[in-house]
């Protein structure tokens, strides 16, 4: 029982981190039809700028805020300079965003140094609760709670505000949205910057969870993010949460019970979904 609970909590926490990365990815794909392989760069830049701020100011919260800011600024520049010129061309998108991903990753080493940097959980989130046999690590719960809050806030925005409505409508039919008088480029930029900020938060939250940050962490997580986008259905926000949790849990359980499969399990999950539901679990029907 105690084992089960800790595997679940572990899986949920990992799932939430992947969700933060995948949420932006799926909306960017769904709305803008853009394959953004440099999304992981936002994750790692969020982690580094946030962690350095955290180390200097000794405030984890300020660190998170700086990570968000980094995500938004980088997102803005990326959309304007890298993405705008390649709208509508997938091959160019893959090449330029993959290239930019490597640039972002190498820049980390140039700016912050090549070595992994250890990160501690802030005091007030450190330690664990003991409930009988079960040990619950506080920081994991923190990640899960933040993940659900982010999901709740954005789900509300998507379903209850005008801009959210426009984003959803844009995922279904871009041309029509423009023909109704909406400047979709502005909406794109908004979504891109929001997605970038979410990825940066993910990176920052990841840092104390894994105990250290390193330049390649972005690439590693971006791959999980892409798997989640495919499983959840490209363009589906709720789908990305569900798929991220699934991937997180599968990874956590496999790592314990069948360790040699723990890396392959995500690929297997993706293959199963692609065979039985190629549009993903939640793919929106395009009108």
């Amino acid at each position: 029982m105690d084992l089960l609970i800790s595997l679940i909590i572990n899986g949920l926490a990992t799932g939430m981190l992947i969700f933060l990365l995948a949420a932006g990815l799926t909306l960017i794909f769904g709305l803008m039809d853009v394959l953004n392989f440099s999304h992981g760069g936002l994750f790692v830049w969020g982690a580094y700028t946030g962690v350095f701020t955290y180390i200097i100011t000794e405030s984890f919260i300020v660190g998170i805020m700086v990570a968000i800011l980094t995500g938004m600024v980088l997102g803005f520049l990326m959309e304007k300079l890298i993405i705008t010129p390649v709208y509508g061309n997938h091959v160019q998108q893959i090449l330029i965003t993959l290239g930019f991903m490597l640039v972002l990753q190498e820049m980390i080493k140039v700016v912050f140094g090549p070595n992994a940097i250890p990160v501690k959980v802030p005091d007030y989130l450190a330690g664990s609760w003991e409930m009988g046999e079960v040990i619950i690590i506080k920081y994991r719960i923190f990640i899960i709670v933040v993940g659900f809050i982010v999901f709740g806030v954005f789900h509300y925005i998507l379903t209850h505000t005008k801009i959210g409505l426009i984003v959803r409508a844009g995922v279904m039919n871009k041309e029509m949205v423009q023909a109704l008088g909406i400047n979709i480029k502005k909406v794109f930029l908004f979504v891109f910057m929001t997605g970038a900020a979410l990825a940066a938060i993910g990176g920052m939250l990841m840092a104390p969870y894994s105990g250290s940050i390193y330049a390649e962490m972005g690439m590693e997580f971006a791959i999980l993010g892409f798997i989640v986008v495919v499983i959840g259905g490209m363009g589906s926000f709720s789908g990305s949460l569900l798929a991220a949790i699934l991937v997180g849990l599968a990874g956590s359980f496999m790592a314990y019970y069948i360790p040699f499969l723990s890396l392959a399990v995500n690929m297997i999950l993706m293959a199963i979904v692609l065979i039985f539901r190629p549009q993903g679990l939640f793919r929106m029907a395009k009108e």
Binding site: R168, A169, M172, E175, Q178, A179, L180, G181, A285
Partner: protein, 236 residues
């Protein structure tokens, strides 16, 4: 002669390497219904898309309210006061009827809500299915929703592409009545293959063939010109 609202002059449009429109001209005057006629594949839909900037013209001019709009992006064209009802209706399938209209409503003013109320009296079905997903509506209801969406803003011009397509005769009748009502408040450019409907609603016609305007005039002329109807529309 009434005031000119929209004027297309020698419009050429390319889609990819295809030269689709090769000289479209016509004029829509305030308060009139101008009907675009022509065989399947003649270029009627492309003409409307070109006005909306969705397939921008490669040359020629489009003036709306005495302003050149052919180089503007689609959203700006819409915001100059043009409502568009595409051939496939462009309903947001997963949004409800209410949300579809809400996306379209540019300013949530009391005037806009009055127009919404008015449009719902034209299409009571929409009110009945207010919370239903657009994708689950019948063909006729989708058509009505698309028209309501275009009408809810204070559009000076509506572009409506084949509203009767694929609808049962009794539904066509309803749609036609609604267009007649809308006509009292706004100017309309209508693509319509159903000649009976076109001739009853239209004030003027423009005949398009192979991407070119071949004739334009008062609807009455066409009604009595059997030779022209036969040549370009295959009727009469």
């Amino acid at each position: 002669m009434m005031e000119s609202l929209l004027k297309l002059h020698n419009i050429q449009t390319h889609i990819g390497q295809f030269h689709i429109l090769q000289g479209i001209q016509f004029e829509a005057r305030v308060g009139e219904v101008s009907v675009l006629l022509g065989r399947n594949g003649a270029g009627k839909t492309t003409t409307l898309k070109t006005i909306m900037g969705l397939t921008p013209a490669s040359s020629g001019s489009i003036t709306f309210l005495n302003e050149e709009i052919s180089k503007k992006p689609t959203y700006e064209i819409a915001n100059t006061g043009i409502g568009y009802v595409p051939e496939d209706q462009g309903i947001f399938a997963q949004l409800t009827v209410e949300e579809n209209i809400k996306v379209a409503m540019r300013k949530e003013t009391s005037e806009a809500f009055e127009r919404q109320e008015y449009v719902l009296t034209l299409f009571p079905d929409l009110k009945k299915f207010w919370k239903k997903a657009g994708g689950n509506l019948s063909g006729g209801q989708k058509q009505m929703l698309a028209m309501a969406r275009a009408f809810v803003n204070d559009s000076k011009l509506l572009l409506i592409d084949e509203p009767s397509k694929g609808l049962a005769p009794i539904v066509v009748e309803k749609v036609m009545e609604a267009i007649m009502e809308m006509k009292k408040r706004t100017t309309i450019v209508l693509v319509e293959q159903n000649f009976f409907m076109a001739s009853r609603i239209g004030d003027t016609f423009t005949l398009i063939d192979d991407g070119r305007t071949v004739h334009t005039g008062a609807m009455n002329e066409l009604i009595s010109d059997d030779a022209m109807k036969h040549k370009y529309l295959g009727i009469g």
